[in-house]
């Protein structure tokens, strides 16, 4: 299987605390992987290392054929814009922008024309079933709808990988199930791989593979 992202001997220390301690991980194309662990187990830090949001203390991260270790922050930002999608527990939508504008937001600094990015944003909103809510601002959307907008935003660049940190953490169980179903549909229809960081067994059960972490190590 094609590996989308690979990490080898990944270590992240904050002073004397080692949050991630020698992690090896591989995620294959079109695979949904759940990264499980209790609070403080290092799973979010591990996801941030894979996304290039944190610099590893040691170890390597490779995305397809590209070595990410050692790249500067702006190069990593550009890499994220072109290759991966991120979904957060708190959605992190821009409150002043409409759903459509939030979806197109990652492309604002790019050279892509307004027409093209609007077209793309509309199609992503359609994919998550929110075409009719395009003009609504986040404050007028439910939690589930906001998370779907965030997922549409993560899809704007046709990513091969979406990294999701507790994507159902702020949602009721029914809405959470809908979001997970959406992940599966996107995996099936678009071949997107997912790494879902969660402490919820029900979420993990829907994954193709579950990786467990404890005290910074994969167990």
């Amino acid at each position: 299987m094609n590996k989308v992202i690979t990490a080898k001997s990944l270590v992240k220390s904050f002073g004397t605390v080692t949050a991630v301690d020698g992690m090896d991980i591989e995620i294959n194309a079109g695979e949904i992987v759940a990264l499980m662990g209790r609070s403080g187990s290092g799973k979010t830090t591990a996801m941030h290392l894979l996304a290039g949001l944190e610099q590893a203390t040691s170890g390597k991260v490779r995305y397809q054929d590209k070595e990410l270790s050692g790249l500067d922050e702006d190069t990593l930002a550009l890499w994220r814009r072109e290759n991966i999608g991120l979904v957060f527990q708190s959605f992190h939508l821009i409150p002043t922008l409409s759903a459509l504008e939030n979806v197109a937001f990652p492309l604002y600094p790019s050279d892509i024309s307004v027409t093209e990015r609007t077209k793309r944003a509309e199609s992503r909103l359609e994919m998550v079933g929110l075409a009719d809510r395009a003009t609504h601002r986040p404050s007028r959307l439910s939690g589930g709808e906001q998370q779907r907008v965030a997922i549409a935003r993560a899809l704007i660049n046709d990513p091969d990988l979406i990294l999701a940190d507790e994507p159902t953490g702020n949602l009721d169980s029914e809405t959470g199930k809908e979001i997970l179903a959406l992940f599966h549909r996107l995996r099936d229809e678009a071949g997107v791989a997912f790494l879902i960081v969660t402490h919820d067994d029900e979420v993990a059960e829907t994954a193709d593979r579950v990786i467990r972490m404890k005290d910074g190590k994969i167990i």
Binding site: T44, T45, H48, A51, L53, E54, E73, D74, A77, L78, W79, R80, R81, E82, L86, F88, Q89, S90, H92, I94, P95, T96, L97, E101, F105, P106, Y108, P109, R153, N157, D165, E166, G169, V197
Partner: protein
């Protein structure tokens, strides 16, 4: 920079935007209004001289007359000799010069202040032409005729064609003039040809007793000079006329306006700048608070692929718009303030030396003054300077912003709660 995002941020976070715009506007208003106020005062200080179309007056103090009969000169207007006048005319920066001869004439039962002048001059007392109420103005080759001040004519029931006597010489009144047109400088009752005044003064015993009066001397000159060289001309004239020189310019009239003008003139720019910097500080603080408030948003921008420069440009764009709108609102407010200021008047005292009248006569010790509107105005240069300062405020934010954003770690602000 994304314009629609910028517009939405500014309009949908309206209270923050308005408070930042208001801060800049207040700073600009203080800066511009103070400068316009100082400019109005400076212009008022020039009024006595500008009303006679001159930039500088020069005279020389002399001795107190020994007796008060016949023609004599007040002690502030000793004769200026022909060679001195010509030397002043040759000073670099002097564009024109016209001369007058001011005198008092004590008759048996009356007193008259007279002034001989060149009617061909288009500045100095030549400006009286515009104040002609009745009759005709003097011609260059006139002799034995005079103009009379309107209020003096009323007080003494004089009219056109009447004769007035100065130490036995008859002068026919050919015109009545409003002397307020000459900035209250060397205001006289009678205005006659310079040659007639010189001829009478050159033989007057009480003049000759204390002065070296020559037939072609004057005792008051008006100088037109290039603005940039006015100070040098003042210094040059003082050097030529010696220690007793009395050389007046707009600056010396400014000094007459007192401490308030001095403070505004000297510290107006400084106080305005301090006020503006205070406002700029508020703007920086407002933007800082905004960035702090939006740190999760900035973290998310980094996470979804915005480079640091993209974020700086976006936030700087917002700040620039705030600074520009604040600057324009400030200019509008300043315009209102200066409009109100323009309703006020400034009283510019004219020193006794420039308009001497005998102290022992009724009203003789009263200070003469010119009352002019406070013409506070916003010039194009001032408006551009104000907008430039707004841009400086935005640039200050621009210098500070990258460091602030660099301190925001997306991994920290996006971590699950």
């Amino acid at each position: 920079m994304n314009v629609s995002y910028l517009f939405r941020e500014l309009t949908r976070r309206s209270s923050r935007t308005l408070s930042a715009i208001f801060s800049v506007a207040i700073g600009i208003t203080l800066f511009v209004s103070l400068q316009a106020y100082a400019g109005g005062y400076r212009e008022a200080a020039r009024a006595p001289l500008s009303e006679v179309g001159a930039d500088i007056t020069a005279q020389r103090q002399g001795d107190v007359p020994e007796g008060f009969t016949g023609i004599l000169f007040p002690h502030s207007v000793a004769p200026l000799h022909r060679d001195e006048i010509e030397a002043i005319a040759e000073l670099p920066g002097v564009e024109g010069i016209t001369e007058s001869l001011f005198f008092w004439s004590f008759e048996e039962d009356s007193f008259v202040a007279g002034l001989g002048f060149d009617p061909a001059a288009d500045f100095g007392h030549g400006r009286l032409r515009a104040g002609l109420i009745e009759g005709r103005f003097l011609d260059v080759d006139d002799s034995g005729v005079t103009l009379v001040d309107a209020s003096y004519a009323t007080q003494n029931a004089l009219s056109l064609g009447d004769m007035v006597i100065i130490i036995g010489n008859s002068f026919e009144i050919v015109g009545i003039v409003d002397t307020t047109r000459t900035g209250q400088i060397a205001n006289a009752n009678l205005y006659l040809p310079l040659a007639d005044a010189q001829a009478m003064s050159a033989i007057a015993p009480n003049v000759l007793a204390v002065h070296d009066m020559r037939p072609d001397d004057a005792n008051l000159i008006f100088i037109k000079s290039e603005q940039t060289q006015a100070e040098a001309v003042v210094a040059g004239a003082e050097a030529i006329l010696g220690k007793k020189a009395l050389v007046s310019s707009a600056e010396s009239f400014g000094e007459q306006l007192g401490a308030l003008f001095d403070i505004i003139d000297r510290f107006g720019v400084l106080v305005g700048l301090v006020a503006f910097l205070f406002a700029a500080g508020i703007l920086v603080r407002a933007v800082a608070a905004g960035v702090w408030e939006r740190r999760r948003e900035v973290g998310m921008m980094r996470a979804v692929g915005w480079e640091k420069k993209n974020i700086v440009r976006q936030l700087l764009g917002e700040t620039l718009v705030i600074a520009l709108v604040g600057g324009l609102v400030g200019l509008l407010l300043s315009w209102g303030v200066t409009l109100m200021m323009s309703q006020a008047t400034v009283t510019v005292p004219v020193p006794w030396e420039l308009s001497p009248s005998p102290h022992f006569l009724p009203g003789g010790a009263e200070e003469v003054a010119v009352v002019v509107p406070l013409n506070a105005k916003i010039t194009l240069e001032l408006a551009l300077a104000a907008l430039g300062l707004s841009a400086v405020a935005a640039a200050l934010v621009g210098l500070w912003l990258p460091g602030r954003i660099a301190n925001i770690k997306p991994a920290e602000v996006l971590r699950s709660e």
